[in-house]
Amino acid sequence: MADRQDTKEGFEDALKSAPETIAAFEDRRTGIVHRIQHTLHTTPALVPLIVLLISIAVFGVLKSSTFFTPFALTLILQQVQIVGILAAAQSLVILTAGIDLSVGAIMVLSSVVMGQFTFRYGIPAPISIACGLACGTLCGFINGWLVAKVKLPPFIVTLGMWQIILATNFLYSANETIRSQDIEANAPFLQFFGTTFEIGGARLTIGVVFMLLLMLVLAYVLRHTAWGRHVYAVGDDPDAAALSGVEVSRVLISVYMLSGLICAFAGWALIGRIGSVSPTSGQLGNIDSITAVVIGGISLFGGRGSIMGTLFGALVVGVFTLGLRLLGADAQWTYLLIGVLIIGAVAVDQWIRKVSV
């Protein structure tokens, strides 16, 4: 007994001579390059933001008369809204180190459900829309359940689901387009996201505002809620996350379900954008959304990146597409440059990952 007391006092004495600073990595590297690397590491959305600003500046100088008009600048927002919403869904999945090849297909099927429920069965538009949103969420649930519970790789699951959903879409819709004029006359609520309004010469649609709000809300949720931190934790290291008490499969399923729901909203926005319900649209939604996410600096290995980066990534693609078209360049140049951007973005990502701070 006496011994133990002695030991206790002895320890406390020894503590006084110990260094008082907390354990930390000593950072010997200094200089501008390293400081940039460090800044980029802490703020991953910075790279796409810089690329975005530079590209706007370059196209602005080259084609100032048409590019720097409220029409052209808000047009870019309108043109990226669908891919932007899909990319938000894609970001969530990629943050968990997964990938979702079925986003575009879920979008189209949801929009077809919204349209056909209204026109084939005569269900009121708001209820059809709710059914469409539920349909998207269900597709997401199937993806998430197969990934989390059956433990299949996300690439395989969503590759299969992509085909299944597209086939379902064509079988169910018989590839019939519902015309814009019919929707406008009978169920204008389906086109709600296409409603335009003007702010100082700039023409915006509800769809654009929805995309921006969605990004902001997701950015907040991912950063400041327990669920958001769990998403990052699962993507970074699922075993470590499980050991710290995160219910990994529940988080995964919730991510895929939310992703499906967001895709269904994209489907609703798609009706607003193109006016009609067309089963053939959105086929490249998966590739376009992954492009935006990658250019936006979200790591395909999961757990790193920010949703605002995705927004900037989508906008970069939009600026390049419109800018090059205004310059009169062949559309192939757009694809070529976007390819360069993708590879460049991943190269920068690898370089940033080397920072140990």
Partner: protein, 339 residues
């Protein structure tokens, strides 16, 4: 038990297939770009109906998406192996498919290109198609006649199919320009014209989404475009949405090609000014008849006089006929529409 019933079932199925094949004798294949586009759905409908009537065993194949070349090659190989008498094909890749087509012809099959001519056109035994150049010419002439004197300073937006410039897209585009009275550069490609009335070309992928985007891009170049050529009716519907978003839908003439039912309805509603209608059902049923004739007597169908293919006809559908341009009414268009 399980195995036995499986064997029994298989044996039964094989016997049934054999009986089926014996009963008909002549086999034919229909290979389309996709089986989702209503145009090809109608084609399949025409072929199936005619095959049923003539007692021909028809097998249908389709690529997964437009441009899916490999699946079409596999389909041709399957048909040769199957001992079919003839193949009807709408090729996704008109020049690459030629070697497979030659294999089929060497094996004694009749190959007819439907809708899309092969490159070169004589790679197939015959081509049953719409005269796409004429289809373009009709809408071009209609647009010029409708504008009257204003055609001299029209601002034209050209919404094409894709950057790879497939023949169909080039023919319609160049036909439109010729019909409108614009000097062509190389008639084998679009986009090389120097007439200042052309604001620009953009690509739509032939759907609503692409049509809207392309129209917006051209409007950013010049917001006062007043004539819009579109490769097909979905692209036209997308272009209309873009125009409607800036309140210019009533100042612009949109013309298109295809004659699908939603497209003709859009002509009735004034979304599209005029469209050139083509007849996929006819192409397919004539194709099946040709295969039957070939199987019976070895006759190869002859092309329409003065053309290197068999013209299945095209008609201009409009609610506002223009002088000097033959057209049919919207009602007639509706009666004959597809999809």
């Amino acid at each position: 038990m399980k195995l036995r019933s499986l064997l029994l079932a298989t044996g039964f199925a094989v016997a049934a297939t054999g009986a089926f094949a014996d009963g008909h004798g002549i086999g034919a294949c229909l290979i389309t770009k996709t089986d989702t586009n209503p145009f090809f759905v109608k084609m399949k409908e025409g072929a199936t109906a005619k095959a049923g009537e003539l007692g021909i065993a028809l097998k249908t194949f389709a690529g997964k998406i437009d441009g899916d070349h490999e699946t079409q090659v596999q389909a041709i190989e399957t048909c040769i192996a199957d001992g079919a008498k003839g193949i009807l094909i709408t090729a996704s890749d008109t020049s690459s498919i030629v070697s497979s087509v030659r294999q089929a012809r060497d094996a004694g099959l009749l190959v007819i290109a439907l809708d899309t001519p092969l490159d070169p056109i004589d790679a197939a035994d015959a081509t049953f198609a719409t005269d796409n150049f004429l289809a373009g010419e009709l809408i071009g002439a209609w647009a010029a006649a409708t504008l009257g004197d204003a055609a001299a300073d029209a601002k034209i937006g050209m919404l094409d199919l894709s950057v790879s410039q497939p023949t169909v897209g080039v023919l319609r585009d160049q036909g439109f320009l010729q019909g409108f009275g614009i000097d062509l550069g190389d008639p084998g490609k679009w986009g090389d014209e120097t007439d200042p009335r052309i604001v620009g070309n953009d690509v739509t992928a032939g759907n609503e989404e692409g049509g809207r985007r392309a129209m917006e891009n051209l409007l950013a170049k010049d917001p006062f475009i007043n004539v819009v050529y579109t490769i097909n009716e979905p692209a036209a519907a997308g272009a209309y949405e873009a125009l409607r978003a800036i309140g210019r839908e009533n100042d612009v003439l949109i013309v298109s090609v295809d004659g699908g039912c939603p497209g003709v309805q859009n002509v009735a509603d004034g979304v599209i000014g005029a469209t050139s209608q083509q007849y996929p059902l006819l192409m397919a049923s004539l194709g099946i008849e040709a295969i039957a004739a070939f199987a019976a007597a070895g006759t190869i169908p002859a092309p329409t006089e003065g053309k290197d293919f068999f013209d299945t006809g095209v008609a201009l559908v409009t609610g506002a006929p223009a002088e000097g341009v033959p057209s049919i009414s919207v009602q007639e268009g509706k009666d004959r529409c597809w999809g």
